[in-house]
Symmetry: C2
Subunit: 202 residues, 2 copies
Amino acid sequence: MKQENFILIISSPSGAGKTSLSRQLLKEDSRLCLSVSATTRKIRPGEVEGKDYYFIDIKEYKEMLLNKEFLEDAQVFDNYYGSPKKHIMDKLQEGKDILFDIDWQGAQTLKEKLGPLVVSIFILPPSMSELKRRLKSRGQDSDEVVDRRMERAKAEISKYGLYDYVLINKDFDKTLARISSIIAAERLRFFDFSKFVEDLMK
Amino acid sequence: MKQENFILIISSPSGAGKTSLSRQLLKEDSRLCLSVSATTRKIRPGEVEGKDYYFIDIKEYKEMLLNKEFLEDAQVFDNYYGSPKKHIMDKLQEGKDILFDIDWQGAQTLKEKLGPLVVSIFILPPSMSELKRRLKSRGQDSDEVVDRRMERAKAEISKYGLYDYVLINKDFDKTLARISSIIAAERLRFFDFSKFVEDLMK
């Protein structure tokens, strides 16, 4: 009996709760690990190098891009992001399921490259006003950046139909429980029973 | 926001626990209801007409078959079974998810006829000796019938690959929890978010 690992993508507009949900999932589920992206954006308070991101400069980023070291890459505003291939292959070989916290374009790229291994979830905010309130309450962005994030949120949300599952994050604990159900069900789906059945039939 | 109903098929060889699991699921989950089959087989102790089966005679069965009143039908040993269309359509319209306790041929027929609405689970016994022990402990079948059931079990088990999910029923409560996770995840999958997103974007 062999468990196949899988890749879980969670996407949402900035402020819909994706990051808090991901952190809690990673705490509770030891088989899940985060795909750590490389990024050129500045480190935020509370973020840890090598855990939240690999913080690199634009020169290193260009070098990695040139050497095709990314599984997917994206530009968000003036910052660049990429998922290092080596990091992901190492984690899969360790028997981990890998959580990707990426946008719809990254999700599409992963679906194209790793199709059957990918399960994707889109997190919706309960309302746009609630999304704006959450973005403002973070207190790290100017009004102008919040407005840009709201515009980008609308563009993201319009892509919800590309995902396997959609959740409305109204209540954090309920949303977390729903994601856990999805993970439990998908793990069952990725089980390979051929050896077990072969032994059973002997 | 609109929830789409779905059809859950649970198949297993006789004795692997399908019936006990189904009963418990139906007790715990008010949105789930059983698709009651019509059958020509004799009523067993504890079974209730119209709840476990519609017990009909061969003449009635032939009549219904002729009038195309079954969504799927099957012969098991000398007994005939069929899922009455009207019963199923009524339940779907009431907003229920419908549980089908049928074999792989019935499952295939439903997949062909109702494709995207169908989620299927195959329950495996932990071992063939355990399966035989369970069949014997029911005490309702002769050794000869038990042997026929064991032969049939092998034929059933060889079809596990046709199912969306496969579970090994070693521990009843764990298997039940896994099925509940599958139902929770699949309900999320069958949600129609288009109206919600439309309102969100206004």
